[in-house]
């Protein structure tokens, strides 16, 4: 529904890292999982997904390995590196702080704000 998801800017990488925290996955599966998990609240475009995966691999946050998908097709599986794990922690904190700040402005009525420790 949201015309174009520029809101995703900078968040997609964190979402991918988080997805991989649950175990190794291939790209297509990462997208499906995120969409399923949010009941299509998030829509992951392949034109954003794959470039994001390459960026993160280049930076050493994730590692790739060719394998076979659940359905027996060839698929490239990604897994978190140690560097990726610490990035995930860092970026999750950043997002929580950002979301809290924006929520404080935009949604002052709802009591949904996350607090920093």
């Amino acid at each position: 529904m949201a015309s174009s998801n520029e809101l995703l800017h900078g968040t997609l990488e964190t979402l991918i890292l988080k997805t991989l925290q649950g175990g190794s996955r291939h790209g297509y599966s990462i997208a499906r999982w995120l969409e399923d998990e949010t009941s299509d609240g998030l829509q992951i475009e392949e034109g954003s997904l794959y470039p994001a995966l390459y960026r993160m691999e280049r930076r050493g946050w994730i590692e790739a390995e060719w394998g076979k998908s659940e359905l027996g097709r060839k698929a490239k599986f990604y897994r978190l590196t140690a560097e990726g794990k610490s990035q995930l922690a860092r970026q999750t904190n950043e997002w929580a702080a950002f979301a809290a700040a924006v929520s404080k402005i935009l949604l002052p009525s709802t009591g949904l704000i996350a607090e920093k420790a």
Copy 2:
């Protein structure tokens, strides 16, 4: 703290609209207010602020008028139009939905999710 705020992408306009909901303000004052209100959790760069104001004026979401600031300096005051108000409502909903989806993935532990009516 957050290195570069690409998270702001698409959110800045909504934040500005929301700021103007509290009454007419000039650009510089909008930035100060947002930073104060979030205890510098948000940092508004002028290179993002002014272009955003022009975009929104061009689209008819806000209207500008020259006046004098609290300190007697010349300043351009912006106010919400009817179109801007409905945009604010629409974009606030979009953000709430997006933030809820991302929070569900990234912060499953905290019970901070907003629900749609």
